[in-house]
């Protein structure tokens, strides 16, 4: 008699932890590509996602950079929005009440011109109900002061991390820029400064020239490149950072399909963020949790973390 092996179907568990934050699945909407959430009303079921990361907020409203702010490149998008936002107070007053009703984790992205501003904003958000984590933008390539200035200097990145951690008990995610020589150096610094997680990558600095009008395509000359064009670079950097720090890493960069997301999870990311893809098709992220689950079920993988490849 042949001894037949019993196959017990796995029921994959998509939930993950980022510090004390528990997400029902590893798919998040990336800051700057999902507005303040409500813009997506009727086009995407937010409740199906692990979380949403609100557009970067500053202490006072910012009007952003002059147009043109966008340039399309092969498989990519250059932008120089310049962190246009309504400011933290207007957000709390006008947007947050509606966002409290969504059945997904709400993460707020902040950006400052000084360590003090980051501290003040984190403290302000800490008092508000409904916010589950803070993502700290030290990586925007499109503004002169603040933003990337903190992300390219490991010491400054650590100072911001320190300040924000001191200001809030919420989990703190530091969003890194790829526009550095060695991203693991900044990653290690923010990890040892107490960050609960790291997200990467923000956009890659790039440019395009309009040869008809003989001028840079963006009014700001340089902009941040996103979209599928940057995925291999993002994946490589996620792989490196995952192996350099002990805190969870959230992968970002050109993800459109479940397969893309799986690549990042295999590189060791605990979760992924969907950015430019939402601009092209608002419902993109909605299909990813199911796609990831299908793969895990077919391959007998029980937890998201078990997707990670060795070494």
């Amino acid at each position: 008699m042949i001894n037949q092996k019993k196959t017990i179907p796995v029921c994959p568990d998509l939930s993950i932890n980022i510090g004390t934050l528990r997400l029902k699945n590893p798919v998040l909407l990336a800051s700057g590509t999902c507005g303040y959430g409500m813009e997506l009303d009727g086009l995407l079921d937010l409740d199906k996602l692990g979380g949403i990361i609100i557009k970067g907020l500053s202490i006072r409203p910012r009007s952003g950079n002059p147009p043109p702010r966008l340039a399309e490149t092969p498989c990519g998008l250059l932008n120089s929005i310049g962190l246009e936002n309504i400011g933290i107070e207007v957000f709390i007053r006008d947007k947050l009440p509606c966002l409290r009703n969504i059945q997904t984790s709400l993460i707020v992205n902040i950006l400052g011109n000084s360590v003090e501003e980051y501290f003040e904003m984190a403290k302000r958000l800490d008092r508000e109900e409904g916010i589950e984590a803070i993502e700290v933008n030290i990586s925007c390539p499109n503004v002169k002061a603040g933003g990337i200035a903190f992300g390219t200097d490991p010491e400054a990145a650590a100072s911001v991390t320190h300040a924000v951690k001191k200001a809030t008990g919420l989990p703190v995610i530091i969003k890194l820029t790829p526009n550095v020589t060695d991203i693991t150096e900044v990653a290690r610094k923010v990890a040892s400064a107490g960050a609960d997680a790291i997200s990467l990558i923000n956009t890659l600095l790039g440019m395009a020239i309009d040869i008809k009008f003989r001028r840079p395509a963006l009014a700001n000359v340089f902009g941040g490149l996103s979209g599928p064009a940057i995925k291999p670079i993002a994946l490589r950097m996620v792989w490196q950072v995952v192996r350099a720090v002990d805190i969870p890493v959230i992968g970002i960069g050109g993800i459109i399909t479940p397969d893309d997301a799986l690549e990042f999870l295999m590189a060791g990311a605990r979760a992924v963020q969907i950015g430019t893809a939402t601009l092209i098709r608002p419902s993109t992220a909605e299909d990813l949790p199911a796609g990831i689950r299908d793969y895990m079920r077919a391959n007998n993988i029980k937890n998201v973390e078990n997707l990670r490849l060795p070494a």
Binding site: T33, P67, R69, L70, A71, G76, L77, N79
Partner: protein, 261 residues
């Protein structure tokens, strides 16, 4: 605000002139809630292509019976070239209707001023004007081949005036001359609605302002999302206090709101 992102069946793709096309798709949900001046974002290629990455924004030109909507567009680059290759029977993803369209002001003469392909956002408006005897349509272009859909307008009003720079259709000259002639005949309050090249709309606005006639403009901008997510489609405000966003607050604005430069 009902918006839909749906796979729509292409029912017609017609080349009307050298680089001008009329694309008709079956999209009943979008048709039902479309207002004059609104637009859609169209995926120019099928699902797996990433180049070009972005959808293309096109004004809703016409809504037909049984759920059809049409877009009048010009081939200007890679995206619209690929779009023009799509054939009836194929499926195209359409997101819409988007943005704030024209606010219809009744009980006064309506003057529609279209420059070239700017007419693409004016037809639906002309159809919805309740008093056709007070509808004046002025259309200007470089030459006749730029405006191949004149009959769509001539059906709606007796007061259709055309001007082309080379005189190949209607009067010879530029549209501001037509508008000037029209405004001289108008004694009471009127409303101007315009869409066309930036410089033309700027001139129209200045003429309107001189006579205290309210003017609504439909603007165009490079867009990524069309839904207010990216804030890419910024246009400076007239008071120099920040920016308007064409996709969400527009594409139609009171001309006074815009910094014309």
């Amino acid at each position: 605000m009902s918006r839909f992102d749906i796979p729509a069946n292409i029912v017609e793709q017609t080349r009307l002139a050298h680089s001008i096309f009329l694309l008709t798709v079956n999209a009943p949900a979008i048709m039902d809630s479309a207002n004059p001046g609104q637009f859609c974002m169209l995926e120019v290629q099928d699902d797996n292509s990433r180049d070009p990455l972005l959808r293309r924004p096109l004004s809703i030109y016409k809504t037909g019976s049984n759920g059809k909507i049409s877009f009048l567009y010009k081939e200007v680059g890679k995206g619209t070239r690929l779009l023009s290759k799509r054939r009836p029977g194929e499926i195209i993803r359409v997101l819409g209707p988007l943005g704030q369209g024209f606010r219809l002001i009744h009980d006064c003469p309506s003057i529609l001023v279209g420059g070239g392909l700017g007419v693409a956002s004016l037809l639906l408006l002309a159809q919805r004007i309740k008093q056709p005897h007070r509808l004046i349509v002025l259309i200007g272009a470089k030459n006749a081949s730029e405006i191949p859909t004149i009959e769509d307008f001539s059906r709606l009003t007796r007061y259709l005036h055309i001007i082309t720079e080379d005189g190949s259709l209607g009067q010879r000259g530029v549209i501001t001359e037509l508008l000037n002639q029209t405004l001289q005949k108008i004694t009471d309050m009127a409303q101007i609605y315009t869409c066309g090249p930036w410089s033309m709309m700027k001139a129209v606005y200045h003429m309107a302002r001189k006579r205290n006639i309210p003017c609504q403009v439909s603007l165009e901008a490079a867009m990524a999302c069309g839904t207010g997510l990216c804030l890419g489609c910024a246009v400076p405000k007239s008071n120099s206090q920040g920016f308007l966003h064409v996709c969400q607050e527009g594409p139609v604005f009171d001309a006074d709101q815009v910094h014309w430069g």
